[in-house]
């Protein structure tokens, strides 16, 4: 302005304005509507920060990825501080893996151990991942790697989604992560219709005893160790994800490492904040406004629907072999939106049979879903890297 003062107003594009609006929407959804606020608020703010031109808090290469540089380059203005955060936190996979460790310290696997078949529901509920992978790739709009990352949104689990996308399709990290975390809150809306469609009234009424078996401390301790060793030997590329999740869980159940389990919780808080800001900073206007982003949003809905279906059908299938039938609704909880999907199962169960209390049973597959998503991420890594 007048050759004396540099303001950003002239450099603002229409795209920037639209992104500021979107950032505002995310913050609104987080604060007012309470949808995953610890993530949506930082993401929204990250979007703000990079859509205000010239500030240079994040600089990009011509193909839209964050530029790489060292500490000196910040002082020289070639890169911004968020570039470093991206490279040392996200590109190294450090942030998603340590967040997953924190998640592990918060999980109680007793319902899963009490009914080991829950693990299989956690696997069948990954159906949406592969269905969307097929649709995305066969539509011709996305490369095979990108399709895998869009598919993994159906796993309904943040850290594996980030982990896979950083490895296979970093240019889509912003939109995919944003969609993944926003949609998890929509699970209570998307699941019930699918549940009602794929199960009969009679099946939904199946009564399950309110108490799950009491699980001993030894079982709680052996579970993470066994799961990790077996999963890593059979699917080595999933070792980082499964390892961190199980390690966090071990810290929680061992009983003697409470300080470390708490550390996992604190790490979680710090890193989710940093993750949010990094992800938001990946969405300057020129990256976001692309028909592909809108497609991703649509495909994510499909992914959740098919994953729910996968879980339900898996449960119905297993039921054929069981004398004491389980209520197939809990299969839908194999979608790893913890604990939302389990609550949905509880509500749908009560709607069909007011005396039924499915929450505890549903938590089994719910947690198992996290393991399932990690395995799938590992499988994709193994096949596509």
């Amino acid at each position: 302005m007048f050759g004396l003062y540099e303001s950003a107003l002239e450099q603002m594009t229409l795209g920037n304005l639209a992104m500021l609006l979107i950032g505002g929407v995310l913050i609104y959804l987080g604060i007012v509507k309470r949808m995953e606020p610890i993530l949506l608020v930082p993401i929204g703010f990250g979007i703000f920060m990079v859509n205000l031109p010239i500030a240079g808090i994040m600089t990009y290469t011509p193909d839209g990825l964050p530029a790489f540089g060292g500490l000196k380059d910040i002082a020289e203005g070639k890169i911004g501080i968020l570039n470093l955060l991206y490279y040392y936190g996200l590109e190294t996979e450090l942030i998603p893996l340590l967040i997953f460790l924190g998640v592990g310290t918060l999980m109680d696997f007793s319902p899963t151990i009490a009914r080991p078949i829950s693990l299989v529901f956690g696997a069948t509920a990954q159906l949406g991942v592969f269905v969307v992978f097929l649709i995305a790739y066969l539509s011709g709009m996305f490369s095979i790697n990108e399709s895998a990352c869009i598919g993994i949104i159906g796993g309904s689990d943040g850290p594996p989604t980030v982990y896979l996308t950083v490895a296979l399709a970093p240019s889509l990290l912003g939109p995919i992560t944003m969609v993944a975390y926003s949609y998890m809150a929509l699970v209570p809306i998307l699941q019930p219709p699918v549940i009602r469609l794929l199960t009969t009234e009679k099946e939904r009424k199946i009564m399950m005893k309110p108490q799950i078996r009491k699980v001993s401390k030894l079982e709680l301790i052996l579970f993470p160790i066994i799961v990790f060793i077996v999963a890593s030997l059979l699917d080595p590329k999933s070792a980082p994800l499964v390892g961190m999740l199980m390690f966090g869980n071990l810290l929680r159940v061992s009983g003697v490492t409470e300080r470390l389990a708490r550390a996992g919780g604190i790490l979680n808080d710090i890193l989710i904040l940093l993750l949010g800001i990094s992800v938001g900073s990946l969405m300057p206007a020129q990256v976001f406004f692309h028909p592909r982003t809108l497609l991703i949003i649509g495909l994510a809905v499909l992914a959740f629907i098919f994953s729910t279906a996968g879980g339900l059908l898996g449960a119905k299938f297993i039921n054929l072999f069981l004398k004491e039938k389980i209520n197939p609704i809990i299969g839908a909880a194999g979608v790893s939106a913890i604990p939302m999907a389990a609550r949905v199962a509880q509500i749908e169960g009560q709607r069909a049979n007011p005396k039924n209390y499915l929450l505890m049973h549903a938590l089994g597959p719910n947690m198992a879903g996290a393991i399932g998503t990690s395995l799938v991420a590992g499988i994709f890594m193994g096949m596509l890297r």
């Binding site: 996979e93 450090l94 890593s232 070792a239 071990l250 003697v256 470390l260 550390a263 193994g382």
Partner: protein, 379 residues
Amino acid sequence: MSEAIWGGIQGLISGFANLHWSNPIMIGIGCLLLYLGIKKDFEPLLLVPIGFGAILVNIPLAGLMEEEGFLRIIYDAGIMTELFPLLIFVGIGAMTDFGPLLENPKIFLLGAAGQFGIFLTLALALALGFPQRDAVAIGIIGACDGPTAIYVTSKYAPHLLGAVSVAAYSYMSLVPVIQPPIMRLLTNEEERKINMGVVRKSVSKTTKLLFPLVVTVIGGLIAPRGLPLLGTIMLGNLMKECGVVGRLTKAAENEIPNIVTLLLGISIGATMDGRIFLKPQTLIVLGLGFLAICLDTACGVLFGKVMKVLTGGKINPLIGAAGISAYPMSARVVQREGQKYNPKNYLLMHAMGANTGGQVGSVMAAAVMLSVLKGMGVI
């Protein structure tokens, strides 16, 4: 790309196909560490992450310690840079109360005596043919202090990091078992009964504030190589004593060491790749480490006897055993043993003095050792 797909399908077997013979053994050792930590309560805050890290790194093909692997990144960021042990040391300094030591400064000599095990073991390791840098790392197990051992070993003999840390932390847990027999062997009934009375003098706040400063400056001038260690523990102590940086002190005592210990543990475990760890020299290292701690205890007690003679029978040699840096376990062991022989004896405070003296002593010993060896051109 089809090969990649078939590779993925064969992936179910490839994990097993690529198992080196050492991997299952190391996974077993990792599980053993977990067992020791969880079931037997051996320093769980460290043995559990180390055990898990050891399992992580021995899964074939997962590549966690490779160039870009995420464990390698944590390792490079925290251990290669020495950041982790030093941050923990700040916390330790913030949790240590040097009052009892300052009230009876001659007890500090016991803290020095308790470090002889380090040098004796260093000599023994050299005699056994270990290269000089390795011998330094083996000797430092005798310091009985986690961060010091990690600092020295990662700097001078990183390939021994797994063995040294496991030894250091396991033996620290075994102090209540290792020390009493040695204490009983080297003292007679009459000595053990010596009543040391209650600590009377109180130390002024100024003294407590000046102590960390003075120690840092003088220690740093005498043995500069150890200043990172000495400086950080004294910084923590200063923060605690000055009383005006409560939030920082709290963070240094809680959040920071919790997170750092977690990451440190996994990184150490990550160095325990079977191909590096399962060598005959690892067993020797473990054995020598054990010996170092026994020698520490012996020297401390023997020097305690000397001091008893010099002070005309006022000092109970048992507190010499607390001259090692296993704080505060060793002090509690001395207290228990003292009460066993003379129920009216309350040795805890005196033992704490010796223990904290040992804390400083071990850092000084490490610093001196490093400075001497540097001067000789060995490192």
